[in-house]
């Protein structure tokens, strides 16, 4: 399993109603790779990220995660998380959100406490833990949402325009965080319009066109 690519996509096509939303002949993503999905609005970047995370379907073709098809894949929900452009946090405090994610993964209480504290320190959200999640800024919400995913064990992150709605300060912090996650070995697939962010974080870019077809990989 360790030699399997994280994602292997073959002859994928997905339609909304009857309109073609995504078409991809082949795509392979290696462990620890950072991939940027680039292209104009409506070209299928978000749809592709959701397809890879099993949020959308049914589709034609195959998507394999860690060597196994997405359906009933035991690794998918344990190791990969999709984050919206504007992620949502659940009612309650930031701590409640992290605890909830850990509970979903059946992490024992004592281990969950340790993991939560470590995550808070790593992501610099210690001061936010007791804050009401609905009162956070866009940047803080992004940071907490990623922390929540990583705390729950995700090392394959599918991020939809992670910096698009952030102010300058939060944007800089998010770039540092993405680089740090890369250094720590996370596999990151993200959509972006910002060439600077793509150049900074991505190993490869995948070009989406309005015709929905994924044309080619561009080596960095």
């Amino acid at each position: 399993m360790s030699d399997s690519p994280v994602f292997k996509v073959s002859r994928l096509s997905f339609r909304y109603e009857r309109a073609l939303a995504v078409s991809c002949e082949a795509l392979s993503v290696a462990m620890g790779e950072a991939l940027a999905f680039v292209g104009p609005n409506g070209s299928g970047k978000t749809t592709m990220l959701k397809l890879l995370n099993g949020i959308l379907g049914p589709y034609q073709g195959t998507i394999a995660f860690m060597g196994l098809p997405l359906a009933h894949n035991p690794h998918l929900r344990r190791r990969s998380v999709y984050l919206h452009q504007h992620p949502v946090l659940f009612s309650g405090t930031v701590r409640n959100n992290l605890e909830y994610a850990l509970r979903l993964k059946h992490v024992r209480h004592d281990e969950a406490t340790i993991r939560l504290e470590r995550t808070a320190e790593r992501f610099g959200i210690g001061a936010l833990l007791e804050r009401d999640a609905s009162a956070l800024s866009g940047g803080e919400t992004q940071r907490v949402a990623i922390a929540r995913a990583v705390a729950a064990g995700a090392d394959v992150l599918l991020l939809d325009e992670p910096t698009s709605s952030l102010d300058a300060e939060s944007d800089t912090a998010m770039r540092s965080l993405l680089l740090e996650l890369r250094r720590d070995g996370a596999t990151i697939l993200f959509s972006a319009h910002d060439p600077e962010l793509v150049h900074l974080v991505a190993d490869r870019t995948i070009n989406f066109t309005r015709g929905k077809e994924i044309h080619h990989d561009s080596p960095r």
């Binding site: 959701k50 995370n53 099993g54 949020i55 929900r77 344990r78 990969s80 998380v81 999709y82 984050l83 919206h84 504007h86 992620p87 949502v88 659940f90 009612s91 909830y100 994610a101 979903l104 993964k105 929540r148 995913a149 729950a152």
Partner: protein, 223 residues
């Protein structure tokens, strides 16, 4: 009108007994319809399957079934010759509560389903991506949409409190036992005795207004 108010303010035993019986039946039938209705409505909201539209259409159609038809349906089960005849539910409080539960259940389920559609779709997707199983997703989505669910519960309570067909058909309008506000009003009005009918009408109206007000408060809290 003065006599009607005097019946309420003077603590007339039969009037208040009727009110309490009505509210007791409504409470239990609402509770019994909410326990399966809300999770099933949330489950339907989260589920993706072929034929979902047909299921939703059928569910919506059941909301419009007249109360006497629901009463007749339950009657066929709990009457002496019905499959549940041995349980002696006919002309007993349990029979009325069962009938009202059957009346409220589709309403609770349909309103929960419809109401939760107003919720941001990112909640359901986030729960899925975080690995929440079906039951966890249902609980979490109910929690996020709790004000929407409160509206469904209040609507169900209003529906069963104001219905007359089920109570009359399954309860038999037995004094001190299964007589509710609506069956009393129907009986007294048919006899030309309006004092108690008006006093109970006032209570029903006040109940409807209170439910409406609480429902309004719940809507204000929907994000």
């Amino acid at each position: 009108m003065r006599t009607a108010i005097a019946l309420l303010s003077g603590g007339d035993r039969e009037t208040w007994m009727t009110i309490l019986t009505s509210l007791r039946f409504s409470f239990w039938s609402t509770l019994l319809s909410v326990i399966p209705g809300v999770p099933l409505g949330a489950g339907l909201f989260l589920a993706r399957f072929r034929g979902k539209r047909a299921v939703v259409a059928m569910l919506n159609a059941t909301m419009a079934v007249p109360t006497v038809v629901v009463g007749l349906f339950v009657y066929s089960f709990i009457s002496r010759s019905g499959p549940l005849g041995g349980l002696n539910l006919m002309f007993a409080p349990a029979g009325v509560i069962l009938g009202q539960t059957m009346l409220a259940f589709p309403l609770v389920m349909a309103m929960s389903y419809t109401g939760l559609q107003k919720l941001d779709p990112r909640y359901a997707e986030t729960l899925l991506t975080l690995g929440a199983g079906p039951w966890h997703r249902i609980i979490a989505i109910i929690r996020e949409g709790r004000y929407i669910v409160v509206q469904a519960v209040l609507a169900a309570f209003g529906r069963v409190t104001g219905e007359v067909g089920v109570s009359m058909m399954l309860g038999g309008n037995i004094r001190w036992y299964t007589r509710t506000m609506t069956t009393t009003i129907a009986l007294d009005a048919s006899k030309g005795e309006f004092e108690r009918a008006v006093s109970l009408g006032i209570v029903l109206l006040a109940t409807a207004l209170a439910i409406n007000f609480m429902s309004h408060l719940a809507v204000r809290n929907v994000r």
